[in-house]
C-alpha cells in the first residue's frame, strides 16, 4: 500500500534574500491533508517567510516545495492554469490586512475570489460570509474606511469565501477582537481543512492545532511534535524565547 | 510650484500633453519591463509614497517651513522613470481626488517637475557620484529643483506672448519672464538647498538598507 502523499512538503528548503539575509535554513516539513499545524517562533525566525513559501510567493533559494506531489518552482508558477487552481486551494492571510485589500467595496472584496461562480451563487456566498463575520453593514463601504479589526475580519471573509483546502494564517489574532478570535477558533475546530497558523500566543496553541512546529532564531525547525510524539517541554520553550524561565 | 487651472493656455498645455503622453507610455513600458505583472501594486504604493514625500516639511530659518517635492529622492532611490510616473499620478490624485485642480496644467507640471526633475537628479548624481557621493546627492537635488523651477518660470512667462487678446491684454498668466524668472527662481534657490539637505540626510540612512543599487555599487 502506497503512503499518502503529503499535501504540502518542504525538503531542505532554505531562503536567503538578495541582501544576503537568511530567512530559512534546511527546513524539512511534510503536512498531510486535514492536519492543523501551529508554527511557533520569536519575531524574525522565519514564520512569515515559511508561510509565503507554502503559498508559492517565495521560491526557495535551495531545496524544494511540493504541493500535492508536484514541485512548485518558477516554471510551475508561470503556468496560469496551475496557478489558478493553486490559488483556489491554498490561501494566506497576511499579518497586516491593508496589504490584502484592493477592491472598491467590501462586497467586491469578498466576491473577488468567486468570479468563477454564477451571479446568484456569488451573491449568496458574499452574504453568507459577510453575516458570519459581522460585515453586513459594510458591504458597500470601501475597505480602506474600515477599522483595523474590521479589515482583519474582511480578509478572513475573503479567504474563507473561496472555500480553500489549505488555510495559512500569519498572526491572525494580532488585530482581532476576542469575539472574532473565539469565532475563528470554533470555525477551525469544525473544518476538515489543512491549516498552518503562525503565532507566538502560547495560550491559544492547543486550540489552533494538534501539531506544533517550532522555528529557532537561526531559522531552522528545532521541534516537531509529530516526530517527538508530544508537546514541547517548558525548557525548550524557554530556550527559544517562547516562555519565561 | 503647482500651477492651478486657468493660468496655462491651450496653446501650451495641448502641446505639453502631446509631449507627455509618449513619455508616460515609455515610462510605463520601462517599469512594466522591469517588474512585469507587479507593476500595478508597486506603482500604487510608490504613488502613495510620492504623495507623502511631497508633503514632507522642509524646515526653513525663522521657524517656518515649506513643502518638499520629493521627486529627486524618488529618482535616486527608484530610478527616474518610476519617479516620473509616480509624480504624475500624484498630480492626478491631487487634481481629481483631492480636488486641488490643475488638470490642464498637469502635463506641464508633470514634465517640469516629474520628468525634468527626475532625470536631472538622476543624471547629475551619476555624473558626480565618483567625485563624492554626498556632494553628488546635494548637487543632484539642488540642480533638479532649479531646472524644474526654470521650466515652470519659462512656461508661465511665455503665456502673455502666446495667448493675448486683440488688444494685447493677457488671457492667462499675465506676467512675462522679467517677473516669473526672479519670482520663481529666487525662492527655489532656498527650497533647493533645503530639499537637498533633507534628501542627503535620508539618503545616508537609506543607502545602508541597500535597496539603492547605486549606493551599493550595483547598477540600477
Amino acid at each position: 500500500m502506497t503512503e499518502p502523499v503529503p499535501l504540502l512538503e518542504l525538503e531542505q528548503v532554505a531562503v536567503a534574500y538578495p541582501n544576503g539575509r537568511r530567512a530559512l535554513e534546511g527546513i524539512d516539513l511534510a503536512i498531510d491533508p486535514g492536519e492543523r499545524v501551529v508554527l511557533l517562533g520569536t519575531n524574525g525566525c522565519g514564520k512569515s517567510t515559511l508561510l509565503r513559501v507554502l503559498d508559492g510567493l517565495i521560491v526557495p533559494t535551495r531545496g524544494e516545495f511540493l504541493f500535492a506531489g508536484r514541485r512548485v518552482d518558477q516554471h510551475t508558477l508561470q503556468d496560469r492554469t496551475w496557478q489558478r487552481d493553486f490559488r483556489q486551494r491554498v490561501v494566506l492571510m497576511f499579518q497586516h490586512p491593508e496589504s490584502m485589500l484592493f477592491n472598491p467595496t467590501v462586497r467586491d472584496e469578498i466576491g473577488f475570489g468567486l468570479r468563477h461562480l454564477s451571479e446568484p451563487e456569488r451573491a449568496d456566498r458574499i452574504r453568507h460570509w459577510a453575516d458570519r463575520l459581522r460585515l453586513r453593514d459594510f458591504l458597500d463601504a470601501p475597505p480602506f474606511e474600515l477599522s483595523g479589526g474590521e479589515k482583519q475580519r474582511l480578509c478572513l471573509a475573503c479567504l474563507l469565501a473561496v472555500e480553500p483546502e489549505v488555510l495559512l494564517l500569519d498572526e491572525p489574532t494580532a488585530n482581532l477582537d476576542p469575539r472574532t478570535v473565539g469565532w475563528l477558533l470554533e470555525w477551525l475546530r469544525g473544518r476538515p481543512i489543512t491549516s498552518v497558523v503562525a503565532t507566538h500566543q502560547m495560550a491559544l496553541v492547543p486550540q489552533l492545532g494538534e501539531r506544533i512546529v517550532i522555528l529557532s532564531d537561526d531559522h531552522r525547525v528545532v521541534f516537531d511534535s509529530r516526530a517527538s510524539g508530544g508537546p514541547p517541554d517548558h525548557e525548550l520553550l524557554v530556550t527559544h524565547g517562547l516562555a519565561h524561565g | 510650484m503647482h500651477i492651478p487651472d486657468g493660468l496655462i493656455s491651450p496653446q501650451t498645455y495641448l502641446p505639453a500633453l502631446a509631449v507627455a503622453v509618449p513619455l508616460w507610455w515609455w515610462a510605463a513600458r520601462a517599469f512594466t519591463r522591469q517588474v512585469g505583472d507587479e507593476a500595478l501594486p508597486r506603482l500604487a504604493v510608490f504613488t502613495a509614497l510620492a504623495f507623502v514625500l511631497s508633503s514632507l516639511m522642509l524646515p526653513l530659518p525663522g521657524g517656518t517651513s515649506g513643502h518638499a517635492i520629493g521627486v529627486g529622492l524618488l529618482a535616486l532611490v527608484f530610478g527616474p522613470w518610476v519617479a516620473f510616473l509616480a509624480y504624475t499620478l500624484v498630480l492626478v490624485l491631487q487634481a481629481l481626488v483631492m480636488g486641488a485642480g490643475g488638470i490642464t496644467a498637469l502635463p506641464v507640471n508633470a514634465l517640469a517637475m516629474g520628468f525634468i526633475g527626475a532625470w536631472t537628479a538622476y543624471l547629475v548624481f551619476h555624473l558626480l557620484r565618483h567625485v563624492q557621493a554626498d556632494f553628488a546627492v546635494l548637487a543632484a537635488v539642488f540642480v533638479s529643483i532649479l531646472f524644474s523651477a526654470l521650466l515652470v518660470a519659462l512656461v508661465l512667462g511665455l503665456q502673455p506672448l502666446i495667448a493675448q487678446g486683440p488688444d494685447g491684454s493677457p488671457r492667462f498668466f499675465p506676467f512675462g519672464w522679467s517677473v516669473t524668472l526672479p519670482a520663481i527662481l529666487l525662492p527655489h534657490l532656498f527650497i533647493g538647498l533645503a530639499e537637498a539637505a533633507l534628501t542627503l540626510l535620508i539618503w545616508r540612512h537609506a543607502r545602508r538598507r541597500c535597496w539603492i543599487p547605486a549606493a551599493c555599487g550595483r547598477e540600477a
Binding site: F112 | G99, P170, F172
Partner: protein, 185 residues
C-alpha cells in the same frame, strides 16, 4: 435626468477644456453663475471649497495686474476679470466634480485603474498615519524648541520611515495580490 458617473466625469473634462477656450469675461461670469445655481444645495460650501485653494494666487496675480496697470497707465480690468473668472470657474468645476462624481463608479470600465486607486487611497492613509505618529512623537519629546538641524533630522526621520514602509509595502501588496490570484487576471 440622472447622469451616469462616467458621463459626469467626461462632461467635467470637456467643460474644463471648453473654459480655457472662452475669452469673454461676460460668458465666464454667466458660466460661474450657472454653475453656482446648478450645483444644488450646499452651493455656498462648494464655492468656499473652490475658492480657498486659489485665493492667494488670485490675490497675488490681481495685485500684480493692478500694479502694472498703474505703472503703465494701460486698462487692465478686462484681463483682471478674465483671469480671475476663468480660474474661479475651473476651481468650482473641480470642486463640483469631487463632490458629485464617484470616481470609482466613473472608472467602472477600467478595473485595473479602479484597483490602483483603491490601493493608493489605502496606502496614503497608512503613510499619513505614519507621518502623523512621527510628528506627534517628536512633539511629545520636545521640551525646548528644536534647532534647525533637529527639525531637519525630524523631517528626515519621517522621509526615511516612509521610504522603508514604501519598499516594504510594495512587496507586501504585490505578494498579497499574487496570493489572491489578482496578478494573473
Amino acid at each position: 435626468m440622472l447622469l451616469s458617473h462616467p458621463l459626469r466625469f467626461a462632461l467635467y473634462l470637456t467643460a474644463v477644456i471648453a473654459v480655457t477656450l472662452i475669452h469673454d469675461p461676460r460668458v465666464l461670469l454667466l458660466a460661474l453663475a450657472g454653475l453656482v445655481l446648478l450645483s444644488g444645495s450646499g452651493r455656498y460650501a462648494l464655492l468656499l471649497r473652490a475658492g480657498r485653494p486659489v485665493l492667494w494666487i488670485l490675490l497675488l496675480i490681481s495685485s500684480g495686474i493692478l500694479f502694472m496697470g498703474w505703472l503703465t497707465g494701460q486698462p487692465v480690468l478686462g484681463a483682471l476679470l478674465l483671469i480671475n473668472l476663468r480660474v474661479l470657474v475651473l476651481a468650482l468645476l473641480t470642486a463640483w466634480m469631487v463632490r458629485d462624481v464617484d470616481l470609482d463608479l466613473a472608472l467602472v470600465r477600467w478595473p485595473k485603474v479602479r484597483r490602483w486607486l483603491v490601493i493608493v487611497r489605502g496606502q496614503v492613509q497608512l503613510f499619513r498615519r505614519l507621518a502623523q505618529d512621527y510628528r506627534c512623537a517628536q512633539k511629545s519629546r520636545t521640551v525646548v524648541a528644536p534647532t534647525l538641524h533637529q527639525r531637519y533630522l525630524g523631517s528626515a526621520a519621517i522621509g526615511l520611515a516612509a521610504l522603508d514602509k514604501g519598499v516594504h509595502n510594495a512587496e507586501m501588496v504585490t505578494q498579497a495580490m499574487r496570493s489572491r490570484g489578482a496578478l494573473h487576471d
